[in-house]
């Protein structure tokens, strides 16, 4: 049922995108065909798409995890930045062999994201500060921390707005994968994303921690009644959510890229929200939603190059698709009506939400 909601959202998005294309004089079917070709038509392109999807998977998971406990982590960009910064700094300074360095770099990114998310979590728990506001502020603090640390200590010799390139020993990129995928950006990050997804599912469904967090998210009053420490859980949920965003920073800055740029807020942090919405906050769904987003982003350029439409229109088309995809909540609310629309010709036997029996 939840999948149906997401599928309908995506289809609606494409219909809206198609109308836009028609209105700018292009054939939508050709356009969308190029879009998918651009994302998937060769091994390299498929792998680039997946590589682009990896940070999205992790920020999507991060947002999903916080959502499950009733918190809105809009601080993923900042957590990515700090996670990426710590990882980069360690990679540039540690000078250890790869088997030691790589785990340390991974751990550094996790710690960075955790610390950055713990602040809004703590403020929420202790002083009931709205986490959305504090997360946004933390994003900008991160933005400038990265700016100052990199431009003062780790500036690239060639480009002043970027950091030095990390040694290959600290990168998630491996020669084997790069060769195998014919020079794509794919790297070990995909394994990190898969492991993280499995861990999130495990925590949410199998552990006491997950039980407590979901209870707080669904109904904090009942959770409190059941003896669950709501405040502690808010901090913990943000910390874990932050760890996931920190990992997203790692896969982006030490995998997809090999350094950091200053003065840029990573859009993957915000896109993670849309990914989580499209996936209806189901961890496995996040993986697929992220890949879908990545196809749109990587395929857009090729569609654009092949079609007589300016990039602004192409951007608008993709934004429209994303917009509709992210409004799945709306679709869910109107699902009954949609079903009636599809089942109108023959009175259907299987209507009704199946949940409402009788409330008194």
């Amino acid at each position: 049922m939840k999948i149906l909601v997401s599928v309908i959202s995506i289809l609606l998005g494409f219909v809206a995108g198609a109308l836009l294309m028609l209105s700018s004089g292009a054939n939508p079917l050709t356009g969308f065909s190029y879009l998918f070709q651009g994302g998937l038509k060769s091994v390299t392109r498929i792998c680039n798409t997946i590589a682009y999807a990896v940070p999205l998977m992790l920020t999507g998971l991060s947002v999903t995890f916080a959502f499950k406990t009733g918190l809105f982590n809009i601080g993923a960009p900042g957590q990515m930045l700090i996670g990426g910064l710590l990882a980069n700094v360690l990679a540039l300074t540690a000078g250890l062999p790869r088997p030691l360095l790589l785990p340390l770099v991974i751990a550094a990114s996790i710690v960075g994201g955790m610390v950055w998310a713990a602040v809004p979590g703590f403020l929420k728990a202790r002083f009931n500060v709205n986490e959305v506001v504090s997360c946004i502020m933390m994003n900008w603090v991160a933005y400038w921390v990265v700016y100052i640390v990199i431009s003062d200590h780790f500036k690239s010799t060639t480009i002043d707005t970027e950091s030095q390139v990390i040694p290959a020993a600290a990168s998630l990129k491996t020669e084997a994968i790069t060769l195998l995928t014919k020079g794509s950006n794919l790297n070990l990050g995909i394994f990190i994303a898969i492991i993280a997804t499995a861990l999130v599912i495990f925590i949410l469904n199998r552990t006491v921690l997950g039980y407590e967090m979901k209870a707080v998210g669904f109904n904090r009053f009942a959770a409190e009644y059941g003896g669950i420490n709501v405040q502690k859980n808010a901090v913990l949920a943000m910390v874990i959510s932050g760890a996931l965003s920190g990992l997203a920073g790692l896969t982006f800055y030490c995998g997809y890229l090999s350094n950091m740029r200053i003065g840029v807020m990573p859009s993957q942090g915000f896109d993670g929200i849309a990914v989580a919405l499209l996936a209806n906050c189901a961890p496995v769904g996040v993986v697929f939603a992220a890949i879908f987003f990545a196809i749109l982003q990587t395929g857009k350029g090729f569609m654009n190059a092949m079609m007589p439409i300016p990039p602004e229109i192409a951007d608008t088309i993709i934004a429209t698709v994303i917009y509709f995809a992210a409004t799945s909540k709306l679709i869910e609310m109107n699902l009954d009506r949609i079903k009636k629309f599809f089942g109108r010709k023959r009175p259907s036997k299987s209507e009704g939400s199946g949940e409402h029996v009788e409330h008194h």
Binding site: R206, T207, V208, L209, G210, Y211, E212, K214, A215, F218, N219, F221, A222, A223, E224, Y225, G226, G227, I228, N229, P347, K349, E351, G352, G354, E355, H356, V357, E358, H359, H360
Partner: protein, 511 residues
């Protein structure tokens, strides 16, 4: 002219795992009050939702004035002259009565709304049916009883011929109930027909002409109310004999389990909701707190359970002080709590029944070990509670708690709290909004706990319930103990006076 204004024939409605309506027939004569009686979850609301166009029946026919109709949505129902007064009012609070009533069919004059003529018509309708509603009052400024009348006016304004009342008295005071019954009689005399959904037998007896009884989705009987006793109707509803008398053995109270000394607690407005309150509950005894709503009952209960901080005073459980312990610690010590609001506090509605059954014990063995949940143990435990306490749900313990009817939700909570083998059981409004069958069952279970030697603190706004169950009754007024009596030595009048603030023996408390 057909005999019936509305006729529902052999209605069948299936939900996944549950047949909510199984060939139910309901025939409403013109000018009658027809009661629809059934336990929670019997299928009353489903049947009415079908008539009102919210659901569609899988089988069966609906006839309005002898003609078969397809009611696909509430608008069709409105056009057919069927109106519903919902249990939870659907009103915009900062709108006036008139604005609320015309919402959806705003009268226009050019581009502006013509509220004046609408208000005049509402005033006229209000007079005609004796509703006494001021068309220009704001909803937030009028009482709940008045709001209900606005809902009725809404239907009349839309020329409804058939009015469905869904549990209309649940939210009303006794005075308002009497007025509502008078209004219903006015409506009938003006030629309207009424379907009354309820499980309160007294009201049926008072106002209804005929009564259709359903049980577990099936049509049991349609009876003439005047010729049928309350007892008979109740038994048809629950399917077995009912005793209104609670079987309570004599018992000598044991040692004090809960001792409260000079407890003061702030309410949510920041002033003291409970002041220098002292109380003792002994093992094997039920102490009932009698009082009008909002006189400190919630503050008392929340302070004992740890949901609210005590400003001053002591709470002792089995002689040990727990005043400043965490909620979790108190639960472990054996405090069980049937909360006042089962949907807000008692259950995580989005969790399954089985997940809810371990809400307080998930962290203990065998339900978890080393931080990992043992799903098997949780399932078995929950299934046993559901079985023992007759919790009925479409998909068993895997059903979402929110999908259960109110009675089943409450039974689940009571099962959970009793299965913890508590030292102290706090039951707040344990039968609120439940039907006769469920009430009887829950009362039995609570008395059973007392008979097992456990301490029970009962807080209820229903004086009957307090009188029936308690061994001792403590009357509370403005956050203070106003009097304390033995249940067997008192009556409704004495306790009622204390509740109103008139203390027994000048308010002295005997221990």
């Amino acid at each position: 002219m057909a005999e019936y204004v509305v006729e529902m024939r052999d209605i069948v409605k299936d939900f996944p795992g549950l047949r909510a309506n199984d060939h139910i027939t309901l025939q409403l004569k013109k000018g009658e009050v027809h009661a629809l009686l059934g336990e929670n979850g019997a299928g009353k609301s489903t049947l009415m939702s079908i008539l009102f166009g919210l659901y569609r029946a899988d089988e069966g026919q609906i006839l309005v004035k002898g003609k078969e109709v397809q009611i696909t949505n509430p608008n069709v129902a409105n056009e057919l002259g069927i109106g519903m007064v919902h249990q939870h009012f659907k009103l915009v609070h900062n709108f006036t009565v008139t604005e609320n009533i015309v919402l959806g069919l705003e009268p226009r004059r050019g581009v502006t709304m013509d509220l004046k003529s609408a208000a005049a018509r509402i005033a006229e309708l209000s007079r005609q049916y004796g509703l006494e509603v001021d068309p220009n009052a704001k909803i937030e400024e009028i009482s709940v009883g008045m709001q209900q009348r606005v809902e009725i006016l809404k239907m009349l304004y839309r020329d409804a011929e058939v009015l469905i009342f869904d549990e209309p008295t649940a939210v009303l005071t006794p005075m308002e109930i009497r007025e509502l019954i008078a209004i219903m009689k006015n409506l009938i005399s003006e030629g309207k027909s009424i379907i009354l959904i309820t499980h309160k037998l007294k009201e049926i007896k008072e106002v209804a002409d005929r009564c259709t009884i359903i049980r577990r989705g099936r049509h049991i009987a349609t009876v003439d109310v005047a010729a049928t006793s309350e007892q008979e109707m109740a038994e048809m509803m629950v399917g077995h004999e009912i005793s209104f008398v609670i079987d309570k053995e004599e018992k000598t109270p044991g040692d004090p389990v809960l001792q409260i000394e000079d407890l003061s607690v702030k309410n949510s407005h920041g002033s003291l909701g409970l002041r220098d309150f002292s109380l003792t509950v002994r093992g094997g005894a039920i102490v009932g707190i009698a009082g009008v709503d909002g006189n400190g009952q919630s503050e008392l209960v929340e302070a004992i359970t740890g949901l609210r901080r005590a400003e001053k005073g002591k709470i002792l459980l089995n002689g040990e002080e727990i005043t400043h312990e965490t909620i979790a610690r108190r639960i472990r010590r054996g405090v069980s709590h049937i909360p006042e609001d089962r949907q807000k506090r008692g259950l995580v509605l989005d969790y399954t029944v089985e997940e809810n059954m371990v809400l307080e014990v998930y962290g203990q063995r065998p339900f978890s070990k080393h931080g990992l949940l043992n799903k098997r143990a949780i399932h078995d435990y929950a299934a046993r509670i559901a079985d023992d306490y007759d919790v009925r749900a479409g998909e068993g313990v895997l059903s979402r708690a929110g999908s259960l009817s109110g009675g089943n939700q409450q039974k689940a909570i009571i099962g959970r709290e009793i299965e913890k083998q508590p030292v102290l059981l706090i039951a707040v409004q344990p039968t609120r909004g439940l039907d006769v069958g469920s009430i009887e069952y829950i009362h039995k279970r609570i008395v059973e706990q007392r008979n097992l030697g456990r301490a029970v603190l009962l807080v209820s706004l229903e004086l009957d319930e307090v009188l029936q169950l308690s061994d001792r009754i403590v009357a509370i007024n403005a956050g203070q103990v106003i009097g304390e009596v033995l249940a067997k030595d008192t009556d409704e009048n004495e306790v009622g006076l204390m509740m109103a603030g008139v203390g027994k023996d000048g308010g002295g408390v005997e221990r």
